[in-house]
Amino acid sequence: MATKVHMEALSPTMEEGRLVKWNKKEGDAVKSGETLAEVETDKAVMELVARADGQLLKVVVQEGTTVPVGNVVAWIGKPGEKVDGDGAAAPAKPAGTVAAPPAPAPKSAPQPVPQPVRQPAAAPADATRVKASPLARRMAQDAGVDLKLVQGSGPGGRVIKRDVESAPARPAAAGATTYPVSRVPSPVVRTGVPYEDVPLSQIRKTIAKRLAASIGPIPHFFLTTEIDMERAADAREAINKQLGEQGGKISFNDIIIKAVALALMQHRACNAWFQDDHIRYWNEVHVGMAVAIEDGLITPVIRNADQKSLREISAESRELAGRARNRRLKPEEYTGGTFSVSNLGMFDIEHFTAVINPPEAGIIAIGSIVPQAVAAGDTVSVRRRMKLTMSCDHRVIDGATGAAFLRTLKQMLENPLAMLL
């Protein structure tokens, strides 16, 4: 009996995936655990691995095609085994997609654009059916937990009471639909066509969904402070000079992440998740840092940032940002942050506000460091200054709470030695 290869949920929020590339072709021998294909999820490009030994009998989903999680993308079995025509279990063969290619296609002809495989919305494959105990189902409904995102610990992955109890509440995911993948059009659009409709890519969809779920329901308020970065800049220069050829220079962003983490340790009230019926105050600090990537942004997390040295933070953030841009982050690397930092200083943005990344309760938006004339006593001196704005979830953080945290942060950045305390 041949085994179906399903589009798997490779990220916690993935509802569909685009088959980027087949690493195996029909007829290849495959072993369980071997990478079959690369799949673009809503966050990154991930590997789809074989769950059975045998031969890749049939590829059902062509490269470039997006299918919902759970759809059959290929079959693995014994050589010569038939996979089609065995009733409802066989994947529907979409007319036109797997049809014989135009036989005498000239060599220079462009590759035919693969059509998305359209599967009937009903009759989901095994992988999409969430097995859950009746109680777990009811509890999940009451708590607004999406069962598809809960890891079941019962037999066969059945979601049971204890799994729902330990799952964070989330808004239920919308039904899966098929979208072709897209890219932002290049800057020059002089084609005579007045506009171009670009369907939402996986990551844009996720951004749209998550941020609309933030700015709408979360009562944001904003606190801005201006920080004198003169000493921090001096310290940074000195450190980088000393590091010299060892490389791994420290950025302002690294210093800010470290300062934010240390300040959060003193202000646990801001290091928290809003969880519908309770607030989870974290004893660990995991700082998410917003990274702009092609067609979106993502927030890799520096874990236990308070315990890491500047060099460690620097190396880790550079490495994470690099992989974020290549869309090679693993789900656990961009989830679980307790607070976030967003920096647009390098774009010469002096001041902005950032949208909270739920369930976190706060995010800090960093502007550029600008030399300013500052009155100091009777004289005016030019000093490097930076504006910083904190967005707070008022359900968790009150004005004075946020202000107290910002004061500590400001003290640390204005006097970097305070971080040694």
Binding site: S133, P134, L135, R137, R138, G154, I160, R162
Partner: protein
């Protein structure tokens, strides 16, 4: 409160009801001169005389039929079977006459009769004398079935059975007759159709009756050592079942194990599972498990017999399964 054996609690119930109502009489094999095969009727012949404590020949169908006739005539017979294994011979009177008389007479002829005796396996009585008949008698519309597990419940349920105007099957247990427990003096009635939480718990409900109460209690002790809090629900009545109590307990614990004496196929446990899955579906975190007798005639061999019966170890294993611990 005085402590009595199960047998003396039944004796007390019989004596009190016979003193209270001259229409009540006891009939069966060896109930009189021999004072009962298990001494349940000790002293009754002396007190009430041979008119009301009637020794019969070994003829179950015959004396069951006499009992049905006496009930039709307005008396309140208590028919003792030496064991329920022998009652198979009397099933025609029980099922065709006693159970249907009120119905087929259009409500004109009530049937206030009690059939009682030990049910289920004792020790090494072999296949023909070790059978648990609760699912057979519970199957029949028109019969009520009780299966007390403690001396107090034995007294209270037998008294209620004698006063009931319908045929009531009282399932006792040879291994229960020596069980001691506190029994209220005098007017102590346990209503038919009311289960009893014998031990409160929150993680899993062990549904039991008759001899399996002791099995469930031992299992609950072992589970407690593993930090699992088991609720022990003693059904006491098998027909009617106390649906509300069963569902309330399952809704509390979200998990159930049925511990029964009989064979699994079409057993009492199947009826309970039907009720629970239908009316507590959304409260279940795991499929209901059943522990009962192995699906074979009871072996005579001591070790095989032990292996065939419900045991605390089997109940613990089932409880761990519904808790997803194994």
């Amino acid at each position: 409160m005085p402590t009595l054996t199960y047998r003396d609690a039944l004796n007390q119930a019989l004596r009190e009801e016979m003193q209270r109502d001259p229409n009540v009489f006891l009939m069966g094999e060896e109930v009189g001169v021999y004072q009962g095969a298990y001494k349940v009727s000790r002293g009754l012949l002396e007190e009430f005389g041979p008119q009301r404590i009637v020794d019969t020949p070994i003829a179950e169908l015959g004396f069951a039929g006499i009992g049905v006739g006496a009930a039709m005539g307005g008396l309140r017979p208590v028919i003792e079977f030496m064991t329920w294994n022998f009652a198979i011979l009397a099933l025609d009177q029980i099922v065709n006459s006693a159970a249907k008389m009120l119905y087929m007479s259009g409500g004109q002829i009530p049937m206030p009769i009690v059939f009682r005796g030990p049910n289920g396996a004792a020790l090494q009585l072999a296949a023909q004398h070790s059978q648990a008949w609760e699912s057979w008698v519970s199957h029949i519309p028109g019969l009520k079935v009780v299966a007390p597990a403690t001396p107090a419940d034995a007294k209270g349920l037998l008294k209620s059975a004698i006063r009931d105007n319908n045929p009531v099957m009282v399932l006792e247990g040879e291994m229960l007759y020596n069980l001691k427990g506190e029994v209220p003096d005098g007017e102590h009635l346990v209503p038919i159709g009311r289960a009893d939480v014998k031990r409160e718990g929150k993680d899993v409900t062990l549904v039991c009756h008759s001899k399996t109460l002791a099995v469930a209690q031992k299992a609950a002790d072992q589970l407690a050592e593993q930090d699992i809090s088991a609720e022990v629900l003693d059904l006491r009545s098998l027909r009617p079942l106390d649906d509300e109590a069963i569902l309330a307990s399952v809704r509390k614990t979200n998990r159930a194990v049925v511990v029964e004496e009989g064979w699994p196929h079409a057993g009492i446990g199947a009826q309970l599972v039907d009720l629970i899955q239908r009316d507590a579906f959304d409260d279940l975190d795991a499929p209901v498990q059943r522990v009962g007798q192995a699906d074979v005639p009871m072996p005579y061999n001591k070790h095989l017999e032990r292996a065939a019966k419900a045991s605390p170890e089997k109940v613990v294993a089932a409880a761990r399964r519904v808790l997803y611990l194994d």
